[in-house]
């Protein structure tokens, strides 16, 4: 009845990178406003705050800069999450600040993103900062990049300017191994090609930003992935109706599982078969990522939180020696011999940092093999010896399970975010220098 529509819309998580100077806040403000995601009272509050600060125009950055310190200092400190939707798709946007601690924030935003918008100013073209943002996006293997060439109004909507910037970026992205880049010329301030197609750039026949976001195909196809199921909790009701029920609750991290599948319980290695896939809404014959389900198994094995179920017929690497590419998130630098907790999947194990090496220079994409430590916001390789074996899925093939955190056992703070594998970065890091130097 009425106008209620039962849209079966899907969800796209994306991240934005760029600085206020590039017009990022204006662009986000435009997306939110034109999709009617900013409501009248929020806009009125921003107008009041803009006037109170002596501003002549409405400062849309105040929509996103929510913390007192941010407003007082006119900077963005932290990742902010924004929500907007169209008839076909809902969006979760991680808005990451361009300047302060950009690496840490960008890595956080990109970790869950399927698409990243990298913003450049048409007058300035591809800058060091643009390259950094693209490199982090590639490091995290975000499948889609949008190069938003903003402020086209300030270059007279010139096609050649846009083409040159797009070509420049495309070369760099190819070096990084990024497969999907869509360049879009736009003016966030005046609205050209953000939501509505520009009439002032007839030479551009590609999508507007919003239509691209709506239509971008989501690569993820669970049938092409290898099944992984980190066990979160064991469900044992021991109630009158379910005296003997025993199920393993978790989220399918990747791939598909079907009733009857032979599985192996890792790291111990016991084999069994899936006899039931339960949800509160009823039994399923199969489940795929990222569904949350409960699996029943044929045999009474010792399975608990931290274990991973995987297909019995494909090889899986387990081990107690972890080599990972990490983004260091703490002011406490890593040192050989330091004790850490390693959180990987649903498992937490004790570990000992054996060595730190090969710091990545995100500006030049070169690695410094002599590095012995990492500072806040730096990216490099660590070797950690673990107290017990874990499943080691390489991040290059397993974006959902090949990740870990290093945690300080003393106060529980998160020291580093890591991806399993020695050099997750990029085919490019092994290529000759001249490919990267411009």
């Amino acid at each position: 009845m009425g106008t209620t529509q039962h849209h079966e819309r899907d969800l796209l998580r994306l991240a934005t990178a760029g600085s206020v100077d590039d017009g990022k806040s204006t662009l986000i403000g435009r997306l939110l406003y034109d999709t009617k995601s900013v409501l009248a009272d929020q806009l009125a509050a921003v107008k009041r705050a803009s006037v109170a600060r002596g501003g002549a125009v409405v400062d849309l950055a105040l929509l996103t800069d929510g913390l007192r310190a941010e407003r007082e200092q006119g900077i963005t400190i932290d990742v902010a999450y924004r929500y907007f939707s169209t008839a076909n798709r809902a969006f979760v946007l991680a808005d990451t600040p361009g300047h302060v601690q950009y690496t840490r924030n960008m890595v956080t935003g990109a970790s869950t993103a399927e698409l990243a918008i990298v913003l450049v100013d048409a007058r300035k073209g591809v800058l060091e900062q643009t390259r950094r943002h693209a490199a982090i996006t590639a490091l995290l293997r975000v499948p889609h990049i949008v190069l938003a060439v903003n402020k086209m109004d300030l270059v007279g909507f010139d096609e050649a300017t846009f083409r040159a910037i797009a070509a420049d970026f495309a070369r760099y992205a190819a070096d990084l191994g990024v497969r999907d880049v869509q360049a879009i010329p736009l003016s966030a301030l005046e609205g050209d090609n953000v939501v509505d197609a520009s009439t002032r750039m007839p030479w551009y026949d590609g999508p507007t930003l919003l239509s691209h976001l709506e239509d971008v195909p989501v690569d993820r196809d669970p049938t092409t992935e290898v099944f992984r199921f980190p066990v979160q909790v064991v469900i044992r009701p021991r109630t009158a109706q379910h005296p003997d029920y025993r199920g393993y609750a978790g989220r399918v991290a990747s791939g598909v599982v079907r009733v009857g599948d032979e599985v192996v319980v890792l790291p111990a290695g016991g084999r069994t078969r899936v006899v039931g896939i339960d949800t509160a809404d009823g039994e399923l014959t199969q489940a795929f990522a990222p569904q949350s389900v409960t699996l029943r198994l044929a045999d009474d094995l010792d399975v608990s939180r931290g274990d991973v179920l995987a297909p019995a017929d494909t090889p899986t690497v387990t081990g107690a020696g972890l080599v990972g590419t990490v983004c260091w998130l703490s002011e406490r630098a890593p040192a050989p011999g330091a004790r850490v907790l390693v959180r990987i999947g649903t498992r937490t194990v004790r570990g000992l940092v054996r060595s730190v090496g090969s710091r990545l220079d995100i500006d030049t994409l070169t690695t410094d093999e002599r590095a012995t430590s990492l500072a806040l916001n730096e990216i490099g390789t660590v070797h950690v010896r673990l107290a017990e074996p874990v499943v080691l899925d390489a991040y290059a093939e397993h974006r959902r399970t090949g990740v870990f955190l290093l945690v300080d056992p003393a106060d529980g703070s998160t020291l580093a975010a890591g991806m399993v594998g020695p050099s997750v970065l990029l085919a490019a890091s092994n290529e000759p220098e001249q490919c990267r130097a411009r």
């Binding site: 705050a49 007192r68 990742v79 529980g412």
Partner: protein, 318 residues
Amino acid sequence: MRVAHMTTGITVTEARAATAPGRLTQLQALEAEAIHIFREVAGEFERPVVLFSGGKDSVVMLHLARKAFWPAPVPFTLLHVDTGHNFPEVIDYRDAVVAEHRLRLVVASVQDAIDAGAVRERPDGSRNALQTVPLLDAITTHRFDAVFGGGRRDEEKARAKERVFSLRDELGQWDPRRQRPELWDLYNGRHSPGEHVRVFPLSNWTELDVWRYIEREGIHLPTIYYAHERSVFLRDGMWLAPGDWGGPRGTETVERRTVRYRTVGDMSCTGAVESGALTVDDVIVEVAASRLTERGATRADDRASEAAMEDRKREGYF
């Protein structure tokens, strides 16, 4: 450069059809994420508690928790901070739900805290900000280590920056500058004795998502969320319900209006909106067309200053 791929409607329909593994709809994805969060807390903490007020967000949280552990009962206690100015319909609803699902409910009372001298009544009669002390006392007394809240990032600009797992110190305080980076779906719940973690399973939901989910799941809510006739008076542009808490005053006059509530909190600061929405479908249409956020329309407490929510959160508020 690649050719722009314009997905056709037909392709999309095919991809989503039937039982082939595919892509979850938005609501399915949000539900799967929330269930994952509930199970992480069950796996990592010893004494979790769910803040349950009978408000729609807490009702949806409880529904998700029941689904997460089915066929086992919800492994968490419920906690309600009772301001003493609650809508009676909501208290009745709360007690009925607790009885129906045989849950354990702890009630922390603002009135008790006032009687004990721990907090003092404010001149405007609002007890919203007074909830922080009894909340923290209850957390300490019962040694709760994880506290589920129904907060959503779309609600308010300070909440837009809060983590799903949000660490609070021994004094229950939130320090936005010391938040832990939160990557992938690896939630870090490590904490020292005396500290606790606030957990927000609905972080990525919007008001409209909550309503659509209520519709999809057929969730029963307190009646005051739907249009009804009520005696109200106007204060600061909001329709408030008269009561012992301090209204109406002076020139404020009570009149009968057909209203409903978009949020349910302390009577002193929760306003009704004029509405004829009798069903979930009606409410969804109304919310989708609304030009005001639910907090902007109905919460006096967030209007106090630009950073009103951040300041309350720092002190340990929900």
